[in-house]
């Protein structure tokens, strides 16, 4: 006789219970960057909406920024580290291939008594929404009661300060959320996917492999085909936003916040137009002072909107990440 396997039992629903961010101490204004790219503060602002960004110092490592953000998220949620069953870290700038940085972070936080499941996710600027999707499924599937999702980047490590199209875009920071059980749905169906045919449009210039072959090679940076990415991000991603709303059965007018990945203010503005988002819906514009922090941008922007009172706890928000891969994911959530 075949043995009967007892299935895992999860929560009926999941939601985000807390959010926290860490912004590096050093503020970098446009004026520090303009000489090397023969540009001006006005030009950078008109192209991107960015006034300043934060760049991490030597002590503000991927792990340190993550632990700071996660600690705030746990406190906000009122959940102890002990209750966390899994730590998911989304990053493309932990420059050591293995082990995953998530294990060190879980251990140092004391997540699950320091022994929580832990792994990294590589989904670039969609990484937070990818992690949120996994966390939602884990809580509902019974793999973990509480899951920490951390988006963290030190993009300044991969920025080419002589590249006019990207030198001013990127910033550093970490954002975290705690996902846990809920009696009512707090995370809507994800609409996600990838477009590998266009993976070359945002990419690391050289592979790590090339450094081994050529000791004189310059350290890799990030390169982007701005116009192609702009077109994809605005018009294709507006469709995904609409699909995420439809999947959750939520109207755009019912949103208390729209929190897209902070890629570029121009992308956000054009996306709002393409989505025909009602003017009353508050939109995250954290990029102006934070730059594009890839996987960290959505939780950082979420924290700012809640702290400033632009959005309210318990409100309904649309989150949407998109970036290198090309990858994307969007879902409707209840704000913590």
């Amino acid at each position: 006789m075949t043995a009967t396997i007892r299935p895992a039992v999860g929560a009926p629903h999941a939601r985000i219970w807390g959010v926290g961010g860490y912004r590096p101490v050093r503020v970098v204004p446009n004026s520090e960057l303009i000489d090397r790219i023969d540009s001006s503060d006005e030009w950078i602002q008109s192209r991107s909406g960015i006034k300043t960004r934060r760049w991490a110092n030597d002590e503000e490592t991927v792990a340190e920024m993550s632990i700071a953000a996660a600690g705030k998220a746990l406190a906000h949620a009122g959940v102890s580290a002990d209750q966390v069953g899994c730590v998911i870290v989304s990053t493309v700038t932990h420059l050591k291939q293995t082990p995953a940085i998530a294990t060190e972070i879980a251990y140092r936080l004391g997540a699950g008594g320091g022994r929580a499941a832990a792994f990294d996710v590589s989904a670039a600027c969609a990484g937070f929404c990818y992690g949120l999707t996994l966390a939602n499924d884990m809580v509902r599937g019974g793999s973990a009661e509480y899951v920490l999702v951390i988006g963290v980047e030190r993009l300044s490590d991969l920025t080419n300060l002589d590249d006019r199209s990207t030198a001013f875009i990127f910033g550093d920071g970490a954002g975290a959320v705690v996902v846990g059980p809920s009696d009512v749905p707090g995370i809507g169906p994800v609409v996600w996917g990838s477009d590998g045919a266009n993976s070359g449009t945002i990419t690391q210039t050289e592979s790590w492999e090339s450094l081994r072959e050529d000791r004189e090679a310059v350290f890799p940076t990030l390169r982007m085909e701005g116009q192609t990415v702009f077109r994809w991000a605005v018009w294709e991603m507006a469709k995904v936003c609409q699909q995420a709303l439809d999947a959750a059965g939520v109207q755009a007018a019912e949103l208390d916040a729209f929190i897209p990945h902070q890629a570029n203010m121009r992308i956000t503005d054009a996306m709002i137009k393409a989505l025909k988002l009602p003017a009353e819906v508050p939109v995250a514009r954290d990029i102006a002072e934070t730059g594009n922090t890839s996987a960290a941008s959505i939780p950082l922007a979420m924290e700012r909107m809640l702290e400033s009172g632009e959005a309210r706890s318990g409100g309904t928000a649309l989150v949407m990440g998109f970036g290198a891969g090309l990858v994307y994911a969007g879902q409707v959530i209840t704000l913590p």
């Binding site: 008109s46 192209r47 085909e225 701005g226 116009q227 192609t228 702009f230 077109r231 605005v234 018009w235 121009r266 054009a270």
Partner: protein, 81 residues
């Protein structure tokens, strides 16, 4: 199919909508970047709006070749055919 005049008028309205440029200023000999205050990202917005309005496809590689309004009008005229 739209005529040259209709395409010019359509483009003028699109440029006005996106960059706030006066409709009368959008003439065939005008350069998008130098005369009409259209930067590379605004140009993508213009192109996508034109694609929708005139039911044509303008790939990114071709967008770089559209320096003047006349270039864009010619391109759309041919692409319609």
């Amino acid at each position: 199919m739209a005529s040259q005049e209709e395409i010019l008028e359509g483009l003028a309205n699109i440029v006005n909508e996106i960059a706030g440029t006066d409709v009368e200023d959008v003439q065939l000999d005008k350069s998008f970047t130098e005369d009409l205050d259209i930067d590379s990202l605004s140009m993508v917005e213009v192109v996508v709006a034109a694609e929708e309005q005139f039911d044509v496809k303008i790939p990114d590689d071709d967008v770089k070749g559209l320096r003047t309004v006349g270039d864009a009008v010619d391109y759309i005229l041919k692409a319609q055919g």
